[in-house]
């Protein structure tokens, strides 16, 4: 496992925002969960990398970058920020050895209407970051049939998981396991074994079942120059997830992005 990490931190206050790297949605934060901090090696390419902060994105994932009909009125201390840090393993932002590589801040004057989404970008030359990922050479999702293939894959994985069988998903996620080895040095066989064990453990819990796929709420989001599809629904939830329990908890989510590799839909991120 590597010892130094590139951590992307997305923060908001009194607003919502979405972060992207090279056009790939990374996270969405909002008032109820105002911070996201994660390693992002698998989204980076050697060379130029584009980091985007979209404040007050549209109402659904596929409309995230559409202009809002009404301007947003920031409140007192409304703000959003995006920053990339190089951090030693186990560190927190203020610890020694942490380097901030860039930072974007959005601090609108309170009470002044703002056209949204407010999009701020930073391009960073990172010759040693990431890899030339396999999915960059995949086929684009440019037809209805290609998107239907995504739905079919999700149905296959979801049905298998609902039976307690994670193997269809594991089979479709081989490219991702390999990518994570390249990105973080995570051993493929170990990761698969732990994935299997974790899923079976959770699937054995009382009341566990997978959420059904509803065509009316699916919002497959094509991104990264049509090379990827973000598998989410209209409420920004991963399509592959367990059904919500009575206490409001969704025990398991699989936020995945898929690509067309060799004629089949593969989980790559």
């Amino acid at each position: 496992m590597i010892q130094d990490y590139l951590i992307l931190e997305t923060k908001v206050r009194k607003c919502a925002a979405e972060a992207r790297i090279n056009g790939i949605p990374i996270c969405r934060v909002g008032p109820s969960g105002p911070l996201d901090s994660r390693a992002v090696h698998e989204f980076l390419f050697p060379g130029r990398n584009r980091f985007t902060l979209s404040v007050e994105p549209g109402p659904t994932p596929s409309q995230a970058l559409s202009a809002a009909a009404e301007p947003f009125i920031p409140g007192d201390k409304t703000s959003s920020s995006l920053r990339l840090m190089s951090m030693p393993r186990g560190a927190f932002p203020e610890d020694p050895g942490v380097h901030e590589l860039f930072r974007i801040d959005w601090t609108p004057p309170p009470g002044q209407p703002v056209e949204t989404p407010a999009v701020l970008e930073r391009v960073l030359e990172m010759p040693n970051a990431g890899h030339r990922w396999q999915w960059l050479d995949g086929e684009p999702f440019d037809t209805a049939a290609s998107l239907q293939a995504v739905t079919d894959m999700l149905t296959e994985c979801r049905d298998g998981m609902n039976r307690g069988d994670p193997e269809p998903f594991i089979e479709r996620a081989q490219a991702r396991f390999r990518a994570m080895l390249a990105a973080y040095g995570l051993d493929v066989s170990d990761e698969i074994a732990i994935f299997r064990e974790e899923f079976r453990s959770l699937a054995g819990e009382a009341g566990f079942q997978m959420q059904g796929l509803d065509p009316l709420t699916m919002d497959l989001r094509v991104c990264a120059d049509e090379k990827l599809v973000d598998c989410v629904d209209r409420s920004w939830e991963p399509l592959l997830r367990s059904a919500k329990l009575p206490n409001g908890v969704t025990r398991l989510r699989y936020p995945i992005k898929v690509a067309r590799l060799g004629g089949t839909v593969q989980v790559v991120l």
């Binding site: 990490y5 109820s32 969960g33 393993r89 994570m180 995570l186 990761e191 398991l252 989510r253």
Partner: protein
Amino acid sequence: MNGHDPGSLPEVTPEQYSSSDNAAADCGSNNPIGDTVTPCGRGPVSSRPCDLDEITLSEIAGSRTAGYHVFNGRFVADSPTSKRGIRLFDVETSLPKEAKLQVVGDRPGAQSPTKILASVSAAATCGPTHVAVVVNPPPGQSEIDHVTPALVQDTFTFEASRSESANAAVALFERYIAWGIQPAAYLVSATSCGIRPGGTPKTRGTLTAEVFPADQYQLSLSVPAMGKVSYTRERTTVSSGETTDTSTAEAQLGSDTATVTDTTDTATGITVTDEDIKTVPQKLQFEFKHNGQSGDDITVNINNLLRILSSAQEAVKAIKDVLHEWVPQVGFKFEFDLSFLAGQIVMAWGYKEYTDWRVYYGLSAKFSLTFFEISLTFSFGIQIPAFVARVEGTVNDSAALETDFNFNSPDMLIAPSVKTTVDIPASVSGRAEAGVGWLSVSVELGVRTGFSGEVGLRTKSTTVELYAEIKWEGIDAFVQTKDSPNRGTQEGVWHLVDEKSIWDGVVAF
């Protein structure tokens, strides 16, 4: 008892007089004439008639209450709207027909005691008769007997003192703001033993003079924000397991800038003006006046107030002790700015004489308080099976109380009541240590976190009280974790911080 000359008057017994008897005119009385006479028992009964209608009882114009003068043998108010003359029986319909005279008075032994004047007109005594006036004071004082001489305008005065309060409450509000105190009652009775030819004299009448405490109070209180309190534990290496505690506490209760003007006590009522409320003060100032003089209890009350502020501060600080299962290797931070009762209170109160015969409890106040303002940030580590993470939280808002009231009439029910809801949610987030693990903390809408409660001003029996019920709701959060990018995201509800009462009760100082 003042006697009269029994030898100069023949004794008589009750007699019958006809309704045609016109002797009343001789007495200058316009009252109807009856047919019985009752001896008073104080001596020989006069052979001449008398009548009690012309007995006037009034408060003497003193240092506190001016505006009465004698006119035609009666005390008459200077202003037509402020008549205070009270008679045993109504002889002038323009004056109020009441059986009580209410005044304010000092404790026994005061230098300028309140005096009540009893006036018996010459007409009432009608010749060589007399009217006996008896004053029954509250327990502990001597009865006063007075017999008027005949055919002269006669007056006599007696001192009237307020009752003593047995209130032993320690708190300022409860001790001094109380409008339920029982007045000292002076029962005044007049008896005529005279005989009126041709009719029945009024033989006996009574009224009560009630004496309320004359004390007037003023309070101005300026409380600044309490300042910042921070508590941090520096991060150390995991292997050593050692932590370093550094705590800093401040209560900024002093600076050079001062604050507030005195209250205004008008002649007709108790009023606090807008000028009495200034901006949020920079310095703690407490001024309490009793009849215009600084009170003796200032030190006690300041200490009580400081104790309240300190208690609130300690209660918030103690939230750090109810964090759940935090791990020291991630470090610890707990920092807050607190204001409790910051702002100004200006009050004036006391019994006042109204423009008629009544006494009322005047209470006037302005409250401009940031009752509770908190800016709290905290962070602490938690252990996820595959990594450690840090929970970070902020709470930032306030509950203010802005109100004023004036009870300046005996016809107003004293019932100040105003409240403000405290609803200050926490914003909570989380992050994993740098690595492949990921964590997110969110607080669902509708889940109680942060501070809640109610603050306000309310009436309690015969006083007012500031109260606060403020509670730290604790934090229950939805925590999502992922041990590596290959895994699924697991979610559960984590109880991160316990609930805790911050302040529950009366803010009495």
